[in-house]
């Protein structure tokens, strides 16, 4: 049984993810339009596209966000000539970071090949003169939507996550003002009641993505629409995580070596997705899998992290920390123990 298909939310609030997806689908050529306006190449652009004033605004926000792990810092998000929800927050954060010495990777739901990812990469390459890569281990800055890579991120890397919905509390209350008051006073009992009712209904916590987590024991954070699988990677990592929302004009951060604890009960613990299948391409059993339907109409499971899947297809034994000096670096869910997974998902197997 794979529970990734279950989308039970704690409240009927619609997933902003869906909006984002729809919007981005309608404007797949956002960045190319932008670039073609004044021809190719650097001529006619500010370095890294944004003017220095805009960058300063983003940078001040980024530094305050790192100083206040998990707190949503407002910043003067610039209007970008792109459709809303396209990831303008992530682009602004990336372009404020990037320099000629950087190697930039862009992931859209696990894939480097989507039109969105390619366009963002091109914008950075053209205007900021960066190297680009699809190899996670070679990137210094990674902009991503909905995923954290399977290969362990290092202290040399910054992951920029695009955020459609900034506030974890919006699941339980639509009023941002009331929610900011709750954050101010670390008053998360309403979220806890929602979790309680979730367990009453399903006997376990059923939140598929955007799993709320406490950061540094102080702020409740929406980790953006990453699967639960990726949520544990945020805890005590070596890398810096920046979360940027253009439409909502908020930036927040998880610094390296910071406690990130998914909300859960002592006796209804946080559970990651488990898959009974292996990747049909590379055979992996320790990666986040998604269903893909081939040309033959057959639905199979495949690694969502396409770049790592390619490496694994060539080197099936490649570990997630193969590029590090240390071994057994904690990163995401443990590889499922066959005995344990028997216990949890045994019945329908």
């Amino acid at each position: 049984m794979t529970d990734q298909t279950q989308m039970h939310e704690t409240s009927p609030t619609t997933e902003a993810t869906d909006n984002e997806q729809q919007e981005s689908a309608t404007t797949p050529t956002g960045v190319s339009d932008l670039l073609s306006e004044s021809g190719a190449g650097m001529a006619g652009y500010n370095y890294a596209y944004l003017d220095e004033h805009t960058k300063r605004e983003v940078r001040r926000g980024v530094l305050k966000a790192i100083s206040l792990p998990g707190h949503q810092v407002p910043f003067a998000s610039r209007e970008m000539p792109l459709a809303r929800g396209w990831g303008t927050g992530g682009i602004q954060a990336s372009l404020s970071l990037l320099g000629p010495a950087d190697t930039f990777k862009v992931i859209d739901q696990g894939s480097d090949e989507s039109v969105n990812a390619a366009n963002i990469r091109r914008l950075a390459k053209t205007t900021a003169d960066v190297e680009t890569t699809t190899d996670t281990t070679e990137a210094s800055v990674i902009q991503t939507r909905h995923r954290i890579p399977e290969e362990v991120l290092t202290d040399e890397q910054i992951l920029v996550l695009q955020v459609p919905t900034t506030d974890a509390l919006r699941r339980v209350d639509g009023s941002d003002d009331a929610n900011r008051r709750r954050h101010a006073h670390k008053n998360y009992s309403k979220m806890w009641v929602a979790l309680y009712e979730n367990v009453v209904k399903w006997d376990e916590i059923q939140i598929s993505a955007r799993y709320p987590a406490m950061v540094n024991g102080r702020y409740l954070m929406d980790p953006s629409p990453i699967p639960r699988w990726d949520t544990t990677k945020l805890n005590d990592a070596d890398s810096l995580f920046l979360f940027a929302a253009g439409r909502e004009a908020r930036i927040y951060a998880v610094p390296p070596h910071t406690d990130v604890e998914p909300l859960a009960f002592e006796d209804r613990s946080f559970q990651v997705e488990r898959f009974d299948e292996s990747c049909h391409r590379c055979g992996s059993t320790d990666t986040y899998l998604t269903e893909v339907t081939g040309d033959d109409g057959v639905t199979r499971y495949a690694c969502n992290d396409a770049s790592f899947c390619e490496k694994r297809a060539e080197h099936p034994d490649l570990s997630k920390d193969h590029h590090l000096d240390e071994d057994d670096v904690a990163w995401g869910p443990e590889t499922p123990d066959p005995i344990l997974s028997d216990e949890t998902g045994g019945e329908d197997a």
Binding site: H185, N187, S189, K190, W192, V193, Y196, E197, V199, V200, K201, F265, E266, D267, R268
Partner: protein, 275 residues
């Protein structure tokens, strides 16, 4: 020492700058609670009272006499204009407690049953969820323990346990009142404040809610302030009673004494109007 000792508790309302004479120009002798000079409404003023451990104190008075204002200040739900309140579990003037301290005190020491259901319950949550909120806010993190405690509290307050997972807005008024009581006593507070525990309920339901609370109050020996415009409620529950009018306490004493031998004509009128 008393559990709670309040002096001089005062609350103004209104968008005007108080003129300074508001208290002198209002009250029972003037027959009004709004200052004629500046328009400030004196919700209550100069209220002194104390509550012993395990004791039930009644507050009666006509509509608008300031009962809820007083109750909400003591329940840390409303900021005071002036006053000093000593409370056994708090160091200093309770009315000066900061936000965090208030949250803490409300979670563990003082339980409030609000006059208006919406102030006390989230009607979209289940009844059980509302009660669980008290436990969760106090740091309970074991689901099965929370569940068991909520079930006990439902039984204790005589709400059908098989309704605990239904949304609270599907409950009757009496059930909602009971859920509020369950929520208020969830963390074994030292003081419970009931504001109009019976208004809006059928007479037969009123009696059952009061009996239920009286039993819990005796079993747990929890100090209680019960606010009502209904003398019957106070007579049933309260050891001592204070009578309020135009924002002031005009009479206080043992409930039997106040009922049988009222010192003030107004109290006499209140009693007569009930009987």
């Amino acid at each position: 020492m008393s559990l709670l000792d309040a002096e001089n508790v005062t609350r103004f309302y209104g968008e005007f700058e108080p003129c300074g004479d508001c208290v002198d120009l209002t009250g029972p002798t003037h027959g009004r609670n709004q200052c004629p000079d500046c328009g400030t409404v004196v919700g209550c003023a100069d209220v002194d009272l104390d509550v012993e451990r395990g004791e039930v104190l009644g507050i009666v008075g006509e509509s608008g006499s300031g009962k809820s204002s007083l109750a909400e200040m003591l329940a840390l739900d409303l900021a005071a204009t002036a006053g000093n309140v000593e409370f056994a579990s708090y160091d200093g003037n309770l009315l000066d407690a900061n936000y965090e301290e208030r949250v803490d005190l409300r979670n563990t020491n003082v339980g409030m049953v609000h006059q208006h259901v919406r102030d006390g319950l989230n009607l979209e949550f289940t009844g059980g969820g509302n009660v669980a909120e008290s436990l969760l806010a106090a740091g309970w993190r074991n689901f099965d323990e929370i569940r068991a405690r909520v079930r006990d509290l439902f039984e204790e307050t005589e709400v059908p346990v098989d309704r605990m997972d239904d949304p609270t807005d599907t409950y009757s008024g009496g059930m909602q009142r009971r859920v509020q009581i369950a929520k208020a006593i969830a963390n074994d507070p030292e003081l419970v404040i009931l504001d109009e525990p019976t208004t809006g309920l059928d007479v037969s339901v009123q009696a059952r809610v009061l009996d239920m609370f009286r039993r819990i109050q005796r079993e747990q020996d929890v100090a209680t302030i019960v606010v009502s415009h209904d003398l019957g409620v106070v007579r049933l529950l309260a050891d001592r009673t204070v009578v309020m009018r135009h924002g002031r306490v005009i009479e206080s004493g043992l409930t039997d004494r106040v009922m049988e031998d009222p010192q003030r004509e107004y109290t006499q009128t209140l009693i007569n109007s009930v009987i």
